[in-house]
Amino acid sequence: MTTRYTADAFARLAARASEPAWLTERREEALARFDALAWPTGQEEDWRHTDLRPLDIDAFDPVPAQHEPVAVLDAVPSAIKQAAIGRRGDRDGLAIQVDADVVHSRLRPALEEKGVVFAPLSQAAGSHPDLVQEALGRAGVSESDEKIAALTHAFFSGGTFLYVPRGVALELPVQSVRWITRAGLAVFPRVVIVADEGAEVTYIDHYGSADLAGPVLAAAGVEIYAQQGARVSYFALQDWAQTAWHFNVQRALIGRDATVRSLAATFGAKVSRSRVDCLLDGQGATSEMLGLYFGDHDQHIDNRSLQDHRAPYTTSDLYYKGALKGTSRSVYSGLVHIGKGAQKSDAQQANRNLLLSEGSTADPKPFLEIEANDVRCTHGVSVGRPDREVLFYMQSRGLDADEAERVFVKGFFQEVIDRVHVPETRATLEEAIEEELALEDVS
Protein backbone atom coordinates (compact mmCIF):
# COMPACT_ATOMS: atom_id res chain seq x y z
CA MET A 1 0.00 0.00 0.00
CA THR A 2 1.14 3.48 -0.68
CA THR A 3 0.76 6.33 1.74
CA ARG A 4 0.12 9.21 -0.63
CA TYR A 5 -2.14 7.56 -3.19
CA THR A 6 -5.35 7.35 -1.22
CA ALA A 7 -9.00 8.25 -1.65
CA ASP A 8 -8.32 11.33 0.49
CA ALA A 9 -5.76 12.53 -2.02
CA PHE A 10 -8.06 12.33 -5.02
CA ALA A 11 -10.93 13.74 -2.99
CA ARG A 12 -8.85 16.92 -2.71
CA LEU A 13 -8.27 16.94 -6.49
CA ALA A 14 -11.98 16.30 -7.09
CA ALA A 15 -13.03 19.06 -4.69
CA ARG A 16 -10.87 21.71 -6.24
CA ALA A 17 -12.09 20.78 -9.71
CA SER A 18 -15.73 20.70 -8.44
CA GLU A 19 -16.30 17.41 -10.20
CA PRO A 20 -19.60 15.51 -9.98
CA ALA A 21 -19.93 12.58 -7.59
CA TRP A 22 -20.19 9.96 -10.33
CA LEU A 23 -16.72 10.86 -11.57
CA THR A 24 -15.24 10.56 -8.10
CA GLU A 25 -16.88 7.11 -7.88
CA ARG A 26 -14.98 6.20 -11.04
CA ARG A 27 -11.80 7.28 -9.26
CA GLU A 28 -12.68 5.01 -6.36
CA GLU A 29 -13.14 2.05 -8.71
CA ALA A 30 -9.81 2.80 -10.34
CA LEU A 31 -8.05 3.03 -6.99
CA ALA A 32 -9.49 -0.36 -5.98
CA ARG A 33 -8.16 -1.80 -9.24
CA PHE A 34 -4.80 -0.14 -8.71
CA ASP A 35 -4.52 -1.56 -5.19
CA ALA A 36 -5.54 -5.02 -6.39
CA LEU A 37 -3.00 -5.17 -9.21
CA ALA A 38 0.66 -5.95 -8.63
CA TRP A 39 3.44 -3.82 -10.05
CA PRO A 40 5.21 -5.49 -12.96
CA THR A 41 8.25 -7.32 -11.64
CA GLY A 42 10.23 -7.42 -14.86
CA GLN A 43 9.46 -11.09 -15.39
CA GLU A 44 6.48 -10.29 -17.62
CA GLU A 45 7.22 -10.26 -21.34
CA ASP A 46 5.75 -6.75 -21.60
CA TRP A 47 8.01 -5.38 -18.87
CA ARG A 48 11.18 -7.37 -19.45
CA HIS A 49 13.07 -4.36 -20.82
CA THR A 50 11.76 -1.59 -18.60
CA ASP A 51 12.70 -1.82 -14.96
CA LEU A 52 10.17 -0.20 -12.65
CA ARG A 53 11.94 -1.14 -9.42
CA PRO A 54 13.66 2.27 -9.10
CA LEU A 55 10.24 3.96 -9.39
CA ASP A 56 8.99 4.92 -5.95
CA ILE A 57 5.67 6.61 -6.56
CA ASP A 58 5.49 7.73 -2.94
CA ALA A 59 8.34 10.09 -3.68
CA PHE A 60 5.91 12.09 -5.83
CA ASP A 61 3.07 14.27 -4.62
CA PRO A 62 -0.18 13.57 -6.53
CA VAL A 63 -1.84 16.72 -5.15
CA PRO A 64 0.42 19.59 -6.23
CA ALA A 65 -0.14 23.14 -4.98
CA GLN A 66 -2.99 24.79 -6.85
CA HIS A 67 -2.41 27.23 -9.70
CA GLU A 68 -4.93 30.01 -10.20
CA PRO A 69 -6.69 30.47 -13.55
CA VAL A 70 -5.08 32.85 -16.05
CA ALA A 71 -7.76 34.90 -17.79
CA VAL A 72 -5.70 36.16 -20.71
CA LEU A 73 -3.40 34.08 -22.89
CA ASP A 74 -0.83 36.87 -22.99
CA ALA A 75 -0.47 36.57 -19.21
CA VAL A 76 0.65 32.93 -19.45
CA PRO A 77 4.41 32.61 -18.74
CA SER A 78 6.29 32.81 -22.03
CA ALA A 79 7.91 29.35 -21.93
CA ILE A 80 4.51 27.72 -21.50
CA LYS A 81 2.91 29.94 -24.11
CA GLN A 82 5.72 29.06 -26.49
CA ALA A 83 4.98 25.35 -25.95
CA ALA A 84 1.30 26.06 -26.59
CA ILE A 85 1.44 28.06 -29.77
CA GLY A 86 4.99 28.00 -31.08
CA ARG A 87 5.80 30.65 -33.59
CA ARG A 88 2.60 30.52 -35.54
CA GLY A 89 -0.04 28.60 -33.75
CA ASP A 90 -3.57 29.71 -34.32
CA ARG A 91 -5.99 27.38 -32.59
CA ASP A 92 -9.62 26.34 -32.56
CA GLY A 93 -9.17 25.29 -28.94
CA LEU A 94 -6.43 25.75 -26.40
CA ALA A 95 -5.99 24.35 -22.90
CA ILE A 96 -3.01 25.03 -20.69
CA GLN A 97 -2.46 22.77 -17.72
CA VAL A 98 0.14 23.77 -15.13
CA ASP A 99 0.91 20.88 -12.79
CA ALA A 100 -2.54 19.58 -11.81
CA ASP A 101 -4.64 22.56 -12.89
CA VAL A 102 -6.00 23.68 -16.24
CA VAL A 103 -5.31 27.41 -15.85
CA HIS A 104 -6.54 28.54 -19.25
CA SER A 105 -9.02 26.81 -21.51
CA ARG A 106 -10.64 28.37 -24.54
CA LEU A 107 -12.66 27.29 -27.54
CA ARG A 108 -13.31 29.43 -30.59
CA PRO A 109 -16.72 30.98 -29.85
CA ALA A 110 -18.22 30.01 -33.24
CA LEU A 111 -17.50 26.33 -32.48
CA GLU A 112 -19.26 26.52 -29.15
CA GLU A 113 -22.36 27.60 -31.05
CA LYS A 114 -22.02 24.51 -33.25
CA GLY A 115 -22.08 22.28 -30.18
CA VAL A 116 -18.37 21.54 -29.82
CA VAL A 117 -17.41 20.88 -26.21
CA PHE A 118 -13.87 21.55 -25.03
CA ALA A 119 -13.25 21.77 -21.30
CA PRO A 120 -11.24 20.33 -18.43
CA LEU A 121 -12.46 16.78 -17.88
CA SER A 122 -13.99 17.35 -14.44
CA GLN A 123 -15.83 20.41 -15.68
CA ALA A 124 -17.17 18.64 -18.79
CA ALA A 125 -18.30 15.76 -16.57
CA GLY A 126 -20.51 18.27 -14.76
CA SER A 127 -21.75 20.25 -17.76
CA HIS A 128 -22.15 17.33 -20.22
CA PRO A 129 -22.46 14.21 -18.06
CA ASP A 130 -24.11 12.11 -20.78
CA LEU A 131 -21.34 12.69 -23.31
CA VAL A 132 -18.54 12.09 -20.83
CA GLN A 133 -20.14 9.09 -19.13
CA GLU A 134 -20.79 7.37 -22.43
CA ALA A 135 -17.18 7.73 -23.54
CA LEU A 136 -15.00 7.54 -20.46
CA GLY A 137 -13.23 4.21 -20.20
CA ARG A 138 -15.16 2.57 -23.04
CA ALA A 139 -11.97 1.82 -25.00
CA GLY A 140 -10.63 -0.30 -22.15
CA VAL A 141 -6.97 -0.76 -21.32
CA SER A 142 -4.30 -3.23 -22.38
CA GLU A 143 -3.77 -5.68 -19.58
CA SER A 144 -0.03 -5.11 -19.52
CA ASP A 145 -0.40 -1.41 -18.66
CA GLU A 146 -3.48 -1.62 -16.47
CA LYS A 147 -1.63 -0.85 -13.24
CA ILE A 148 -0.38 2.47 -14.59
CA ALA A 149 -3.70 3.27 -16.26
CA ALA A 150 -5.56 2.62 -13.00
CA LEU A 151 -3.26 5.09 -11.27
CA THR A 152 -4.01 7.70 -13.94
CA HIS A 153 -7.75 7.05 -13.77
CA ALA A 154 -7.79 7.41 -9.99
CA PHE A 155 -5.59 10.49 -9.66
CA PHE A 156 -6.07 12.33 -12.94
CA SER A 157 -5.90 16.08 -12.63
CA GLY A 158 -6.79 18.77 -15.12
CA GLY A 159 -7.24 16.77 -18.25
CA THR A 160 -9.32 17.59 -21.27
CA PHE A 161 -12.57 16.51 -22.84
CA LEU A 162 -13.28 17.30 -26.48
CA TYR A 163 -16.52 16.51 -28.28
CA VAL A 164 -16.99 17.36 -31.94
CA PRO A 165 -20.61 16.95 -33.08
CA ARG A 166 -21.78 15.16 -36.19
CA GLY A 167 -20.47 16.63 -39.42
CA VAL A 168 -18.49 19.44 -37.79
CA ALA A 169 -14.96 19.87 -39.14
CA LEU A 170 -12.45 21.95 -37.16
CA GLU A 171 -10.10 23.80 -39.48
CA LEU A 172 -7.40 24.57 -36.95
CA PRO A 173 -5.80 22.32 -34.37
CA VAL A 174 -7.03 21.98 -30.84
CA GLN A 175 -4.08 22.08 -28.49
CA SER A 176 -3.35 21.21 -24.92
CA VAL A 177 -0.13 21.79 -23.03
CA ARG A 178 0.78 19.97 -19.83
CA TRP A 179 3.48 21.82 -18.00
CA ILE A 180 5.28 20.70 -14.84
CA THR A 181 6.87 23.44 -12.76
CA ARG A 182 8.90 21.61 -10.13
CA ALA A 183 10.44 18.31 -9.09
CA GLY A 184 8.68 15.87 -6.80
CA LEU A 185 5.25 16.09 -8.40
CA ALA A 186 3.04 13.40 -9.87
CA VAL A 187 0.78 14.57 -12.67
CA PHE A 188 -1.83 12.45 -14.42
CA PRO A 189 -3.25 14.16 -17.50
CA ARG A 190 -6.26 12.51 -19.06
CA VAL A 191 -7.59 13.28 -22.52
CA VAL A 192 -10.86 12.10 -24.00
CA ILE A 193 -11.65 12.94 -27.60
CA VAL A 194 -15.01 12.07 -29.13
CA ALA A 195 -15.56 12.75 -32.82
CA ASP A 196 -19.14 12.08 -33.78
CA GLU A 197 -20.15 10.82 -37.23
CA GLY A 198 -18.24 12.57 -40.00
CA ALA A 199 -16.54 15.02 -37.63
CA GLU A 200 -12.95 16.11 -38.19
CA VAL A 201 -10.37 17.35 -35.73
CA THR A 202 -6.61 17.57 -35.18
CA TYR A 203 -5.46 17.54 -31.57
CA ILE A 204 -1.93 18.43 -30.48
CA ASP A 205 -0.88 17.41 -26.98
CA HIS A 206 2.39 18.88 -25.75
CA TYR A 207 4.11 17.68 -22.58
CA GLY A 208 6.78 20.08 -21.40
CA SER A 209 8.50 21.39 -18.32
CA ALA A 210 11.12 23.74 -17.06
CA ASP A 211 14.48 22.19 -16.22
CA LEU A 212 13.64 20.28 -13.08
CA ALA A 213 15.91 19.82 -10.06
CA GLY A 214 14.82 16.21 -9.58
CA PRO A 215 12.45 13.51 -10.78
CA VAL A 216 8.76 13.86 -11.52
CA LEU A 217 6.13 11.30 -12.43
CA ALA A 218 3.77 11.86 -15.34
CA ALA A 219 1.29 9.22 -16.45
CA ALA A 220 -1.14 10.19 -19.16
CA GLY A 221 -4.25 8.45 -20.36
CA VAL A 222 -5.63 9.19 -23.80
CA GLU A 223 -8.91 7.91 -25.23
CA ILE A 224 -9.99 8.60 -28.77
CA TYR A 225 -13.41 7.70 -30.11
CA ALA A 226 -13.94 8.14 -33.84
CA GLN A 227 -17.50 7.38 -34.84
CA GLN A 228 -18.58 6.44 -38.36
CA GLY A 229 -16.68 8.38 -41.00
CA ALA A 230 -14.93 10.65 -38.48
CA ARG A 231 -11.34 11.77 -38.98
CA VAL A 232 -9.16 12.38 -35.94
CA SER A 233 -5.48 13.24 -35.81
CA TYR A 234 -3.79 13.12 -32.44
CA PHE A 235 -0.19 14.23 -32.05
CA ALA A 236 1.58 13.76 -28.71
CA LEU A 237 4.88 15.60 -28.29
CA GLN A 238 6.67 14.52 -25.14
CA ASP A 239 9.44 16.90 -24.15
CA TRP A 240 9.68 16.66 -20.36
CA ALA A 241 12.90 17.42 -18.55
CA GLN A 242 15.22 14.43 -18.53
CA THR A 243 14.45 13.64 -14.91
CA ALA A 244 10.88 12.53 -15.62
CA TRP A 245 9.22 9.17 -15.50
CA HIS A 246 6.74 9.29 -18.33
CA PHE A 247 3.95 6.84 -19.00
CA ASN A 248 1.27 7.06 -21.62
CA VAL A 249 -1.59 4.72 -22.32
CA GLN A 250 -3.46 5.66 -25.46
CA ARG A 251 -6.44 3.83 -26.94
CA ALA A 252 -8.34 4.68 -30.09
CA LEU A 253 -11.66 3.04 -30.87
CA ILE A 254 -12.29 3.51 -34.56
CA GLY A 255 -15.71 3.05 -36.10
CA ARG A 256 -16.92 2.28 -39.59
CA ASP A 257 -15.00 4.15 -42.31
CA ALA A 258 -13.42 6.37 -39.67
CA THR A 259 -9.74 7.31 -39.66
CA VAL A 260 -7.43 8.00 -36.73
CA ARG A 261 -3.91 9.23 -37.35
CA SER A 262 -1.60 9.42 -34.39
CA LEU A 263 1.92 10.56 -33.75
CA ALA A 264 3.93 9.74 -30.64
CA ALA A 265 7.05 11.92 -30.55
CA THR A 266 9.45 11.30 -27.69
CA PHE A 267 12.31 13.63 -26.88
CA GLY A 268 12.28 14.05 -23.11
CA ALA A 269 12.04 12.03 -19.88
CA LYS A 270 14.53 9.68 -18.32
CA VAL A 271 12.23 6.72 -18.71
CA SER A 272 9.44 6.93 -21.24
CA ARG A 273 6.93 4.18 -21.71
CA SER A 274 4.27 4.87 -24.30
CA ARG A 275 1.55 2.48 -25.33
CA VAL A 276 -0.50 3.32 -28.40
CA ASP A 277 -3.35 0.96 -29.22
CA CYS A 278 -5.78 1.21 -32.08
CA LEU A 279 -8.94 -0.85 -32.13
CA LEU A 280 -10.33 -1.02 -35.65
CA ASP A 281 -13.90 -1.70 -34.71
CA GLY A 282 -15.93 -0.89 -37.80
CA GLN A 283 -15.68 -2.05 -41.38
CA GLY A 284 -13.37 0.15 -43.42
CA ALA A 285 -11.73 1.75 -40.37
CA THR A 286 -8.22 3.11 -40.88
CA SER A 287 -5.40 3.87 -38.50
CA GLU A 288 -2.06 5.48 -39.15
CA MET A 289 0.35 5.32 -36.22
CA LEU A 290 3.53 7.31 -36.48
CA GLY A 291 6.30 7.34 -33.94
CA LEU A 292 9.43 9.42 -33.72
CA TYR A 293 11.99 9.38 -30.91
CA PHE A 294 15.47 10.68 -30.28
CA GLY A 295 17.34 9.36 -27.25
CA ASP A 296 20.41 10.87 -25.68
CA HIS A 297 22.43 10.42 -22.48
CA ASP A 298 20.93 7.47 -20.59
CA GLN A 299 17.33 7.87 -21.71
CA HIS A 300 15.19 4.79 -21.88
CA ILE A 301 12.43 4.87 -24.51
CA ASP A 302 9.89 2.07 -24.51
CA ASN A 303 7.19 2.09 -27.19
CA ARG A 304 4.37 -0.45 -27.31
CA SER A 305 1.65 -0.75 -29.87
CA LEU A 306 -1.42 -2.76 -30.76
CA GLN A 307 -3.13 -2.79 -34.13
CA ASP A 308 -6.30 -4.72 -33.41
CA HIS A 309 -8.29 -5.48 -36.56
CA ARG A 310 -11.77 -6.46 -35.42
CA ALA A 311 -13.73 -5.82 -38.62
CA PRO A 312 -13.30 -6.52 -42.33
CA TYR A 313 -11.64 -4.13 -44.77
CA THR A 314 -9.71 -2.38 -42.01
CA THR A 315 -6.31 -0.80 -42.58
CA SER A 316 -3.51 0.01 -40.17
CA ASP A 317 -0.10 1.43 -40.92
CA LEU A 318 2.43 1.81 -38.13
CA TYR A 319 5.77 3.48 -38.73
CA TYR A 320 8.11 4.30 -35.85
CA LYS A 321 11.59 5.71 -36.37
CA GLY A 322 14.16 6.60 -33.76
CA ALA A 323 17.76 7.72 -33.39
CA LEU A 324 19.83 7.03 -30.30
CA LYS A 325 22.89 8.75 -28.88
CA GLY A 326 24.94 8.36 -25.69
CA THR A 327 23.91 5.27 -23.77
CA SER A 328 20.25 5.69 -24.58
CA ARG A 329 18.09 2.70 -25.27
CA SER A 330 14.97 2.03 -27.28
CA VAL A 331 12.58 -0.84 -26.90
CA TYR A 332 9.76 -1.33 -29.35
CA SER A 333 7.24 -4.10 -29.10
CA GLY A 334 4.12 -4.15 -31.20
CA LEU A 335 1.37 -6.60 -31.99
CA VAL A 336 -0.73 -6.78 -35.11
CA HIS A 337 -3.83 -8.78 -34.36
CA ILE A 338 -6.23 -9.71 -37.14
CA GLY A 339 -9.41 -11.19 -35.74
CA LYS A 340 -11.45 -13.97 -37.37
CA GLY A 341 -13.97 -11.60 -38.86
CA ALA A 342 -11.41 -9.13 -40.17
CA GLN A 343 -11.07 -10.47 -43.71
CA LYS A 344 -9.51 -8.24 -46.37
CA SER A 345 -7.61 -6.33 -43.73
CA ASP A 346 -4.31 -4.66 -44.49
CA ALA A 347 -1.74 -4.12 -41.75
CA GLN A 348 1.74 -2.70 -41.90
CA GLN A 349 4.18 -2.38 -39.04
CA ALA A 350 7.72 -1.04 -39.22
CA ASN A 351 10.26 0.17 -36.68
CA ARG A 352 13.63 1.57 -37.77
CA ASN A 353 16.41 2.45 -35.36
CA LEU A 354 19.53 4.44 -36.01
CA LEU A 355 22.37 4.05 -33.53
CA LEU A 356 24.62 7.11 -33.41
CA SER A 357 26.94 5.98 -30.62
CA GLU A 358 28.75 2.89 -29.42
CA GLY A 359 26.78 2.81 -26.18
CA SER A 360 23.24 3.04 -27.55
CA THR A 361 21.02 0.02 -28.11
CA ALA A 362 17.67 -0.81 -29.67
CA ASP A 363 15.44 -3.86 -29.24
CA PRO A 364 12.57 -3.93 -31.70
CA LYS A 365 10.09 -6.79 -31.53
CA PRO A 366 7.19 -7.07 -33.95
CA PHE A 367 4.48 -9.67 -33.44
CA LEU A 368 1.72 -10.88 -35.73
CA GLU A 369 -1.36 -12.81 -34.72
CA ILE A 370 -3.60 -13.59 -37.64
CA GLU A 371 -6.86 -15.47 -37.33
CA ALA A 372 -8.29 -14.61 -40.75
CA ASN A 373 -7.13 -16.15 -44.04
CA ASP A 374 -7.53 -13.36 -46.57
CA VAL A 375 -5.42 -10.47 -45.34
CA ARG A 376 -2.27 -8.56 -46.18
CA CYS A 377 0.25 -8.03 -43.43
CA THR A 378 3.81 -6.79 -43.59
CA HIS A 379 6.18 -6.09 -40.80
CA GLY A 380 9.80 -5.17 -40.57
CA VAL A 381 12.21 -3.83 -38.02
CA SER A 382 15.82 -2.77 -38.24
CA VAL A 383 18.70 -1.49 -36.17
CA GLY A 384 21.64 0.07 -37.94
CA ARG A 385 24.25 2.77 -38.06
CA PRO A 386 24.46 5.62 -40.57
CA ASP A 387 25.49 4.29 -43.94
CA ARG A 388 29.23 4.94 -44.21
CA GLU A 389 29.15 5.15 -47.98
CA VAL A 390 26.52 7.85 -47.86
CA LEU A 391 28.50 9.74 -45.20
CA PHE A 392 31.64 9.40 -47.31
CA TYR A 393 29.81 10.68 -50.37
CA MET A 394 28.55 13.73 -48.51
CA GLN A 395 32.04 14.46 -47.22
CA SER A 396 33.36 14.18 -50.78
CA ARG A 397 30.91 16.99 -51.62
CA GLY A 398 32.40 19.26 -48.98
CA LEU A 399 30.47 18.50 -45.79
CA ASP A 400 32.51 17.75 -42.68
CA ALA A 401 31.90 14.48 -40.81
CA ASP A 402 29.54 15.98 -38.21
CA GLU A 403 27.53 17.87 -40.77
CA ALA A 404 27.24 14.77 -42.93
CA GLU A 405 25.86 12.80 -39.99
CA ARG A 406 23.38 15.56 -39.17
CA VAL A 407 22.11 15.59 -42.74
CA PHE A 408 21.85 11.81 -42.67
CA VAL A 409 19.81 11.80 -39.45
CA LYS A 410 17.50 14.53 -40.68
CA GLY A 411 16.92 12.56 -43.87
CA PHE A 412 16.21 9.46 -41.79
CA PHE A 413 13.43 11.22 -39.88
CA GLN A 414 12.06 13.09 -42.87
CA GLU A 415 10.07 10.08 -44.02
CA VAL A 416 7.98 10.21 -40.84
CA ILE A 417 7.82 14.01 -40.69
CA ASP A 418 6.54 14.21 -44.28
CA ARG A 419 3.53 12.15 -43.27
CA VAL A 420 2.46 14.68 -40.62
CA HIS A 421 -0.11 16.89 -42.34
CA VAL A 422 0.14 19.93 -40.01
CA PRO A 423 3.02 22.17 -41.18
CA GLU A 424 3.71 23.71 -37.77
CA THR A 425 3.97 20.26 -36.16
CA ARG A 426 6.45 19.29 -38.85
CA ALA A 427 8.45 22.42 -37.99
CA THR A 428 8.29 21.62 -34.27
CA LEU A 429 9.63 18.13 -34.92
CA GLU A 430 12.41 19.42 -37.15
CA GLU A 431 13.46 21.92 -34.49
CA ALA A 432 13.46 19.25 -31.78
CA ILE A 433 15.63 17.03 -33.96
CA GLU A 434 18.04 19.93 -34.58
CA GLU A 435 18.29 20.46 -30.82
CA GLU A 436 19.02 16.80 -30.21
CA LEU A 437 21.68 16.82 -32.93
CA ALA A 438 23.33 19.85 -31.35
CA LEU A 439 23.69 18.09 -27.99
CA GLU A 440 27.11 16.80 -27.17
CA ASP A 441 27.25 13.05 -27.56
CA VAL A 442 27.94 11.27 -24.28
CA SER A 443 28.74 7.67 -25.04
Binding site: V72, A84, I85, D90, R91, G93, L94, R108
Partner: protein, 103 residues
Amino acid sequence: MRVRVSRVDELEPGMATRVILDGTAVAVFNIEGSFYAIGDTCTHEEASLSDGFIDEDTVECPKHGAVFHIPTGEVRALPATRPEPVYRTRVEGNELFVEDHDG
Protein backbone atom coordinates in the same frame (compact mmCIF):
# COMPACT_ATOMS: atom_id res chain seq x y z
CA MET B 1 6.91 58.07 -37.52
CA ARG B 2 3.45 59.48 -37.28
CA VAL B 3 0.48 59.85 -39.53
CA ARG B 4 -2.67 61.94 -39.44
CA VAL B 5 -5.86 59.92 -38.96
CA SER B 6 -8.65 62.42 -39.27
CA ARG B 7 -10.28 65.31 -37.52
CA VAL B 8 -11.14 64.28 -33.96
CA ASP B 9 -14.88 64.72 -34.53
CA GLU B 10 -14.79 62.55 -37.65
CA LEU B 11 -14.10 59.38 -35.64
CA GLU B 12 -17.16 58.95 -33.48
CA PRO B 13 -17.39 56.81 -30.32
CA GLY B 14 -17.76 53.10 -31.16
CA MET B 15 -16.24 53.60 -34.60
CA ALA B 16 -12.94 52.58 -36.18
CA THR B 17 -10.85 53.62 -39.12
CA ARG B 18 -7.75 52.41 -40.84
CA VAL B 19 -4.53 54.27 -41.62
CA ILE B 20 -1.14 53.29 -42.98
CA LEU B 21 1.77 54.01 -40.68
CA ASP B 22 5.17 53.43 -42.20
CA GLY B 23 3.77 50.75 -44.52
CA THR B 24 1.77 49.00 -41.80
CA ALA B 25 -2.01 49.03 -41.53
CA VAL B 26 -3.19 50.38 -38.18
CA ALA B 27 -6.75 50.31 -36.84
CA VAL B 28 -7.76 53.37 -34.83
CA PHE B 29 -10.73 53.19 -32.46
CA ASN B 30 -12.78 55.65 -30.50
CA ILE B 31 -14.02 54.03 -27.30
CA GLU B 32 -16.21 56.40 -25.34
CA GLY B 33 -14.15 59.36 -26.37
CA SER B 34 -10.70 57.80 -25.90
CA PHE B 35 -8.61 56.92 -28.94
CA TYR B 36 -6.68 53.67 -29.28
CA ALA B 37 -4.65 52.14 -32.10
CA ILE B 38 -3.59 48.53 -32.69
CA GLY B 39 -2.41 46.54 -35.70
CA ASP B 40 -5.21 46.39 -38.25
CA THR B 41 -4.44 42.99 -39.78
CA CYS B 42 -5.71 40.12 -37.68
CA THR B 43 -2.80 38.03 -36.39
CA HIS B 44 -4.66 34.90 -37.49
CA GLU B 45 -5.32 35.58 -41.16
CA GLU B 46 -5.54 38.49 -43.56
CA ALA B 47 -8.54 40.52 -42.43
CA SER B 48 -9.03 44.11 -41.35
CA LEU B 49 -9.95 44.69 -37.70
CA SER B 50 -11.19 48.20 -38.52
CA ASP B 51 -14.03 46.40 -40.36
CA GLY B 52 -14.69 44.26 -37.29
CA PHE B 53 -17.42 44.33 -34.68
CA ILE B 54 -16.67 46.58 -31.73
CA ASP B 55 -18.11 45.49 -28.40
CA GLU B 56 -17.19 47.84 -25.56
CA ASP B 57 -13.36 47.68 -25.50
CA THR B 58 -12.91 44.65 -27.77
CA VAL B 59 -13.01 44.12 -31.51
CA GLU B 60 -14.01 40.92 -33.23
CA CYS B 61 -12.35 40.06 -36.51
CA PRO B 62 -14.97 39.93 -39.30
CA LYS B 63 -13.41 36.84 -40.88
CA HIS B 64 -12.97 34.11 -38.23
CA GLY B 65 -14.16 35.75 -35.05
CA ALA B 66 -10.88 36.27 -33.21
CA VAL B 67 -11.34 38.94 -30.53
CA PHE B 68 -8.75 41.50 -29.43
CA HIS B 69 -8.72 43.86 -26.46
CA ILE B 70 -8.39 47.29 -28.03
CA PRO B 71 -6.41 49.12 -25.30
CA THR B 72 -3.76 46.36 -24.98
CA GLY B 73 -3.94 44.37 -28.24
CA GLU B 74 -4.30 41.15 -26.22
CA VAL B 75 -6.11 38.15 -27.64
CA ARG B 76 -9.49 37.57 -26.04
CA ALA B 77 -10.84 34.81 -28.29
CA LEU B 78 -9.43 32.13 -30.58
CA PRO B 79 -8.50 31.32 -33.27
CA ALA B 80 -5.81 34.03 -32.97
CA THR B 81 -3.20 33.40 -30.28
CA ARG B 82 -0.80 36.28 -30.84
CA PRO B 83 -1.48 39.85 -29.70
CA GLU B 84 -1.72 42.90 -31.94
CA PRO B 85 0.97 45.57 -31.66
CA VAL B 86 -0.19 48.72 -29.88
CA TYR B 87 0.39 52.23 -31.24
CA ARG B 88 0.14 55.62 -29.57
CA THR B 89 -2.60 58.07 -30.46
CA ARG B 90 -2.21 61.80 -30.07
CA VAL B 91 -4.70 64.62 -30.31
CA GLU B 92 -3.41 68.03 -31.35
CA GLY B 93 -6.09 70.64 -31.51
CA ASN B 94 -8.86 69.03 -33.54
CA GLU B 95 -6.48 66.62 -35.32
CA LEU B 96 -5.96 62.94 -34.44
CA PHE B 97 -2.60 61.31 -35.10
CA VAL B 98 -1.15 57.80 -34.70
CA GLU B 99 2.52 57.26 -34.02
CA ASP B 100 4.79 54.33 -33.40
CA HIS B 101 6.87 54.12 -30.26
CA ASP B 102 9.75 56.02 -31.80
CA GLY B 103 7.37 58.99 -32.00
